[in-house]
Structures are given as structure tokens and as C-alpha cells.
Symmetry: C2
Subunit: 325 residues, 2 copies
């Protein structure tokens, strides 16, 4: 890295640590546009992270995650807590897919120096999005935000990684969607810490509530936290008090008996193993593609002359020979 | 593997190749329950695959994928083509999340010896689901099915892998969901080969149609296949003729000028590289966890004493030393 770049990064980080919004924005842009350069910054920042309560707000498009986040911002600000928001859901008003009303509601926080909202653009590469989301959360953490809200779809490749960087997972549903429940039952979605049934004025509220509760009863895994089911209404604000209380309760729960510590130990382990795997993977792919008859072997697989397992066996032997390891 | 098991597998495969439904069902159960044992079977089967036209029917829960598949089965059967269905979507009637009407509609095919329907249970492990789906498709392919329909959600970790085993991707939307379009725009979903707007009697049909068309215009990547937009109505059967014609057109298109060949070459490459990566990953994870101070290093990361990158660097050096490669 050039000395000039390093100096620039040092200055940015110094500013970031004082809570400077522009520095945060610049660092996140660097994460998105110049990931190699951002790596050094992330290494320095890391020591200043780990303090914020990171809350995932997940759910399908249209369930009202953004209004909910807007309300939570207000709530936390009233308690003088600083708030950061990272929006990963491409259909979120935060990221651009908004109806006018949503945008206006959001504006009210933009002038508050203690609120920082940032949306993550997916630039075609999913794995990259998960990684840059995690890094951006760290920027807000180092910046000194007490609360970091992460808005995301909750299913899919992006979010599997996200669940590893969040302390409290809240899942937002509506009475009209039994689907999410099915998805949880099928094991595609992990069990959240808090269930939110938004738009609770819609018919079907009792059905979905009972479905969640009976599902929770089936969950026999030993857990000392029983996920609450909170009913909310974006229009009237009903239930939002309960919701923010439940979020705080979960934070207290995590901070008791070293639970947060062991959760973050687990998260660190996964992150280190995943990072290492990625490195080894890209190294191996490069090595393999350099093998002289790689294309020929693949062609044979494609023509059903050898099967994929056999090809893997042949290629592994070739790599081991070539690099004699 | 025990000789008895091998004999059993040989017999199953022999039966499978004659189109035996029970053998197919048993092999898929083996893939799900005894993946190690199924590996050998998959190696033998592989040479008999590659003939079927594999069609992905993707879309959010509730868009009507199952009725659509039911219709397509009828259509292909009328042309005397044999049909296999693999349902991965946990909310699908095929996999259990059905309303009564759907189930009844589905029954009509269950007695047809040329139709084989199988749903994949996700047993908590996502990557595993993608893998067993691919293998199950191969079972149906070796069985001699002309057409294999794969019903899935279209977003998420499962489906990224699925798109690598499908020849034709059709995306099912409804007028009420602009969301999917947003998802494609954000690059989270790949561009399908065929767009289906189901429930085309609902208001908003023109809006979504125009949105898709203007999005397609923006796609400047060189493609000689222009994805058609087909409007369908499950109740009246409207548009389903056009849909099956478009599917056949895409198959003809793929079979012209070696396109299918190069597509499957690419798929073979990805499969071999992914399989190899998985092997290396699990080997490395095992090696790393055996390193004496692994837990200590992770603890330091968790306590912010060292950062993840540093930990990766330290661990890589330790592995290289230990295994002197």
C-alpha cells in the first residue's frame, strides 16, 4: 500500500473514532469499492469494536421492516442511545425501493448527528455483500454507535452470514404470511430471538400467532431464552413499546452469565475459519486452473466419460504432485 | 463399503435404468439419509445422465408454481414425454405445505407410471439440500425422464446451486409483487430465461410487465436469447400453451450451435471446483481445530486483542509448518 493511502486511512479512522459521519461513509464506500485497500483499515478498526448491541431486523419484502426500524430509532434516541442502520434488503426504502411516504418518514432522522443510516448496494456478488455488510457494521461499531440495526431479507446466502454478526435476531412477519413459518419449519431459516407480527390489524393474526407458539413448543432444544411473539401496528404504533423492551431484555439476557462472550467467541471462530477457507479456496482454484489438462478433465466430466468425484480425485493428486505438499 | 451394500446398489441402479419408480425413490432416500453410501451409486449413475431437459420453476411462495407445474406435467404427457418433478420449496404443496385443492390436483398424476414426483426435505443443512437436489435430479435423469421440473424459491443459498444444474430457468411472478424485480435489479437473483406472470387477471399486470421489459432493455450483456414474458392464469389455463412452447423453444435454442454443450461444460467445471473446495475446506477445518492453541487464538480475536486477518495469518503458518507443505 502506498504511504499516501495509509496516511489517508489513519486520518479517516481518527475521525471515525470521534463519531464523524463523513468518515464512516467514506470508509464504507472504500469497503464496497476498494476492498483490498479497506482491509488495512478494518484491521485497525477491529480493536474498537464489540461494544454495540447489533440487532437484525429480518423479514420478507413488504412486511414493514423499515417503518419498524424508523420507530425503533425514535425509541432508542429518546433514551439518548446513538443508532446506526445498515440496510441490506434491496427492496427496502433505505436502499432505494421506497414509496414516497417511507422516504419522508426516514428523512426525519437524517439530520440527527447521533443517527447514521447506510444502505449496502449488492454489486452482483452475493458473498461480497455479506462480507461488506459485516465490515460496515464494524465501522458503525467503532464509530461508537450504541445500537446497530441491520435490515435484511432473512433468507438467502447474504443473511446466513449476517446471522453470524448479529446479537439479536428479530423476524418480522404479517398475518398474511404463513410462508415464513413454513420456511422456519423446513429449517431454511434459523429460529429468531424475537418474533414480530406486524400489521396485526389484518385478519389471520390469531392463526399466525398460534402457529408460531405451537412451533416454539415443538422446539425441544435446551434454551433458556423463550422467543417472545410481539404484535405491532405501524400506523398506530401499537406494540412497539413492547418490542423495544423485548430487545432490551434480550440484550440483558445475553450479558448475563457470559452468554454474549460465548456467542462472540463462536462468531469469531466462524469468521476466522470462513476467511481462511476463502483464502485456501481461491488459492486452490488458481492452482487447479493452471494444471495443464484441467480443461480436458472437465470436458470428460461434461461428456460423462468420468464422473465429478473421479475428476476431483485426479486433480487433487495432480496438485499435490505439482506443489509437493 | 460392504459387499452386501454394493450388491444392493447395483440391483437398485439396474432397476432405476428401466424406469422403476421404487428404485428411484429408494436412491433418493439414500442420498438424503446415507449420503456416504449414495456416493458410489452417484458415480455409477453419472454416465447415464445428461439427456433430460431440466427446467427450474422458481418464485416466491404463493405465486402458483405448483399449479403451473401441474399444468406443465399434463402438457408434456400429452406429447408422450416422461416427466420428473423435484420440489425444493418448503412451502410447496409437493413438499407438504399445501391447501387441500392443490393436493387433489396433484393426485391425478400419481398413478401415471411416466410421472415421478419427489420433494426434498431440508434436514437443517442448507448446503446439503442443494447437493442432494442435484443428485436427485441425476437419479431422475438416469431413470430416463425426458423432462425434469425443479420447483424452488429462486433466492437463497439453495437456489444458487440449483441454477447450476438447470438448463432453463423460469421465474414465476404475480402482478402484486414488484419485489422480485427489485431483487433481480439488485443483482441478488440471476436473470431467468423465461418470465412468467401468473395470476395475470389481478390488477397491476401492465405495471409489472412494463417493469420487466424495461429492465430487459437495460441488460446490455450480449445474449442471443431474449427472455420472453408469458402471462398465465392458473384458473382458466390461459397462457400455459405459450409457456410450454417457450420452454421448448429455449430447449431448441440451447441445442443449436453447441450452446447446451458449453453450458454443461461450465456446469461441470463449477461442480468439480465446488466439490474439491468442499473437500479441502473440511480437511483444513479439521487440521486447524487440531492446532494446539487454536482455541486461544480465537479467544484473542473475540477479545479484540488480535484481528481476524491476523489470526488467519498465524493459523496458516502453523498449518504449513505442521504439514510442511
Amino acid at each position: 500500500m502506498e504511504i499516501e493511502d495509509r496516511d489517508k486511512i489513519d486520518i479517516l479512522i481518527k475521525k471515525l473514532l470521534t463519531g464523524d459521519k463523513l468518515a464512516a461513509a467514506k470508509l464504507i464506500s472504500m469497503i464496497e469499492d476498494e476492498p483490498e485497500k479497506a482491509l488495512k483499515a478494518m484491521q485497525i478498526i477491529y480493536q474498537y469494536t464489540g461494544k454495540a448491541h447489533i440487532i437484525g431486523v429480518t423479514g420478507a419484502p413488504g412486511v414493514g421492516k423499515s417503518s419498524l426500524i424508523n420507530y425503533l430509532i425514535k425509541k432508542f434516541r429518546a433514551e439518548n442511545l446513538s443508532v446506526g442502520v445498515i440496510a441490506v434488503d434491496a427492496t427496502s426504502p433505505f436502499t432505494g425501493g421506497a414509496v414516497l411516504g417511507d422516504r419522508i418518514r426516514m428523512q426525519e432522522h437524517s439530520t440527527d448527528p447521533e443517527v447514521f443510516i447506510r444502505s449496502m448496494g449488492s454489486r452482483g456478488h452475493l458473498g461480497g455483500l455479506a462480507l461488506s455488510t459485516q465490515k460496515s457494521i464494524r465501522v458503525l461499531d467503532a464509530m461508537g454507535k450504541d445500537i446497530i440495526l441491520v435490515e435484511s431479507l432473512g433468507v438467502g446466502q447474504v443473511d446466513i452470514a449476517i446471522s453470524n454478526v448479529v446479537d439479536t435476531v428479530s423476524l418480522v412477519l404479517t398475518p398474511l404470511m404463513g410462508d415464513a413459518i413454513q420456511t422456519i419449519k423446513a429449517g431454511i431459516m434459523e429460529i429468531p430471538d424475537i418474533y414480530v407480527i406486524n400489521k396485526s390489524d389484518l385478519p389471520g393474526i390469531n392463526i399466525i400467532e398460534n402457529e408460531i407458539k405451537s412451533m416454539l413448543k415443538l422446539n425441544t432444544s435446551e434454551k433458556d431464552w423463550e422467543p417472545p411473539v410481539v404484535k405491532t401496528q405501524s400506523l398506530t404504533g401499537e406494540g412497539f413499546n413492547t418490542l423495544s423492551n423485548k430487545i432490551k431484555e434480550h440484550w440483558k439476557f445475553l450479558n448475563k452469565n457470559n452468554r454474549l462472550k460465548s456467542k462472540r467467541l463462536k462468531q469469531a471462530e466462524i469468521e476466522v475459519l470462513e476467511t481462511l477457507s476463502e483464502q485456501i479456496k481461491s488459492k486452490t482454484w488458481k492452482e487447479i486452473k493452471e494444471i495443464k489438462d484441467f480443461k480436458e478433465i472437465i470436458k470428460k466430466v461434461s461428456e460423462r466419460k468420468i464422473d465429478p468425484q473421479q475428476a476431483v480425485y485426479i486433480l487433487t493428486k495432480k496438485i499435490n504432485k505439482k506443489f509437493s505438499r
